[in-house]
Amino acid sequence: MSERLAERVSIGPDGVICVIAGKVELGQGVLTALAQIAADALGADLAQVRMVAARTDGGPDEGLTAGSLSIQRAGPPLREACARVRAACAAEAARRWGVSPGEVTVRRGEFRAGDLTATYADLAKAVDLPAEEAPADAGTEQNVYVGTSVPRLDLPDKVAGRPRFIHDLRLPGQLHGRVLRPPSPGARLARLSPPPQDLRVVRDGSFLGVLGESEAEADRALGRLRRLAEWDERDTLPDENDLDTFLRAGPHETIPVRVADGEPPEGQVIEATYSRPFLAHASIAPSCAAARWNADGTLEVWTHSQGVYLLRRALAEVLGLDHDRVAVRHVEGAGCYGHNGADDVALDAALLARASGGRPVHVRWSRADELTWAPFGSAMSADVSAVVDEAGSVRSWQYDVWSQGHISRPTYGGRPGLLAGAHLERPWTYGAPTDPPPQAGWGSARNADPIYDFPRAQVTGHRLTETPIRSSALRSLGAFMNVFAIESFMDELALAAGRDPLEYRLDHLSDPRAREVLRRAADAAGWGRPGLGIGFARYKGFGAYCAAVAEIEAEQDVRVRRLTLAVDVGQVINPDGVRNQIEGGAVQATSWTLKERVRFDRRAITSRDWESYPILRFSETPEVAVELVEHPDTPPVGSGEAAQGPVAAAIANAVAASIEVRVRDLPITRDAIIRAIG
């Protein structure tokens, strides 16, 4: 490795320390947490640390910001690089002062030995050396910021309304672009009437766009373009009211998650089937990007993608460029909950900018495009069965889950995987989504393998390899559904055995951290009162432990009054940050559980706005209480995806406990309850 330290950590003459972590802010606060780690490793003041957004021209390839892995994966190398910088500066100070490096201390960015002091700015030159030549023994650091609730670094700008989002980006000479998407996934452009002179149309195959001097002009131009286009449409979508059949029809790839030995024992068999629909990311802002082609044939792209390097590779491939001709830079977008339209709109911008005579083009999707064209989280269906003994305890467990894949990010599966690619004259079709490997926590089968100590268990995933609806990573992937199914079924087993659902779980559970989290959530919620429901999981089997207790009201519709969660993420970098992520995850999961379902007919996605794809409102949002179970000596794991599955199960179990109706098909709407009764 010939990386120079200064590539990750550079010190300005004003003492500002720029840190490039290669991770991106998605609204989850990761840059603040990483800045805390960096400041402590540097012995610097947090105020002098600047986190630089990820970019391919001048930043390490740290892969994606996803899967609740950022702190876990990016934290240690960042800490190490910063500690080396601190040690190099301390060594330089010692040399100048003629003392031993051990005598130099650093606090709040000030190096000191006796009366002698120096700042990072004074010692900056010491940092410009290859990483491997930097002192490896950096001594011990003190945690000043790690473990405290440092306020979010990006929030003041956002609260003041200062430009910070990619939507606010204004490049000199910038045009605004809009894309006219086909009316349905299977549509092809049949005919385009000749556009009037003043309409700046860009066409490549069935990809159609327009340019305007302002957003308003681009919007008007889009309306005019729409009237010029005629499309050939066909039916390509499954029956939205019979997704179980669609998901189970195949062809499938079989995923053996856990293979049981021998035959299941004799005994009473209990079984049930659960499902969830397709879900949309439904970020509050539509996807957005900007691009500029330079005279030398290089391309610059601004994006809120989760992975600037992956996007660069995909763009280079579609556009027939060498990678090093493309520079991709991250700019913050609205909340990102997985693989949304961010990468797709970057290709849109690049295609439109190719026809703009060198002027940069800024592209923003419409609400309808966002809700219909961004990849969805796949619908899923699962069968669970258990053989139980006389006391109702599990002797054997069988679980089968059917799903489309959960990953079709750019370049996964060997294809660029960008939406507009499929519409070009020389198309780059996107393939069926796949799943992450077991060591990354599976996809369809994420959390399909229960944490309980069952004497025998067989767990199998079935991933569809032909996928008419575009799907990819949505927060927690298959875990939301699998935990909902497993934890609903545990409740059903407990009730069938006449046992308390909490005790029933604990009787099957030896992992002490799991037991503690369950107990803490139950205690905090006042477990034992009627009508409560509980759900629990350890995310991915190796991530955060999370238990949720729900208290609901079921009159016309189900309302969640209160959620009480306990979570164990190991070492906590920023307690309030973890709480915020758990609260947000719980509220979003409540929305998924009670309200959300992507709608479609056989031809087109029909949930295109906030009326047809409603999400939870202020008046429907539960109180959320979070208990942090701290384990400062265990490595930190992410918190953003821990709550989803447990919350869904807790709500369904609370419905069962309150009105004795077991809803096994999400979302738990009034209709679903009526169906479950019928």
Partner: protein, 153 residues
């Protein structure tokens, strides 16, 4: 030419009178703190105060604002100051991505101007036209109630 007052300053907008106020603010006037979320009056991201009342600037044509008083997130408080709602949002760390917040704070500021001491129910009702996908609703409600303690004008 359309005359209107934006954040206390008289302005003349040259955009076509049919242009959505949102585009005039973000484009012509460079006030990008007001957000586009849906363009359909369904999410609240684009809310501004029009003569003190929160309206969806995405569906309000410029002509409707003629001769009237528009306040955006940038103008909720004078100069570099923050409105009590903005301060309380920061105090409570009531944000994740923050994209929804401009519109939410505009709704909240309108509420407090009308009713300086709302109860929780009133706060929730005043914010119900604003969507947030990150799930910071309860923090926001706490923040607005906290701000209400401070707004006693």
């Amino acid at each position: 030419m359309t005359r209107l007052t934006v954040n206390g300053t008289p302005m003349e907008a040259v955009s076509d009178p049919g242009t959505p106020l949102l585009d005039v603010l973000r484009g012509e006037m460079g006030l990008t703190g007001t957000r586009f979320g849906c363009g359909l009056e369904a999410c609240g991201a684009c809310f501004v105060l029009l003569d003190g009342r929160p309206v969806a600037s995405c569906t309000t044509p410029l002509s409707v604002a003629e001769g009237r008083d528009v306040v955006t997130i940038e103008g909720l408080a004078p100069g570099d100051e923050l409105h009590p709602v903005q301060r309380a949002i920061l105090d409570e760390q009531a944000g994740q991505c923050g994209f929804c917040l401009s519109g939410i704070m505009v709704s909240a500021a309108a509420l407090l101007a009308r009713d300086p001491h709302p109860d929780e129910e009133a706060v929730v009702a005043a914010l119900d036209r604003n969507l947030c996908r990150c799930g910071v609703h309860r923090r926001v409600v706490r923040a607005v109630l906290k701000a209400a303690g401070e707004v006693t004008r």
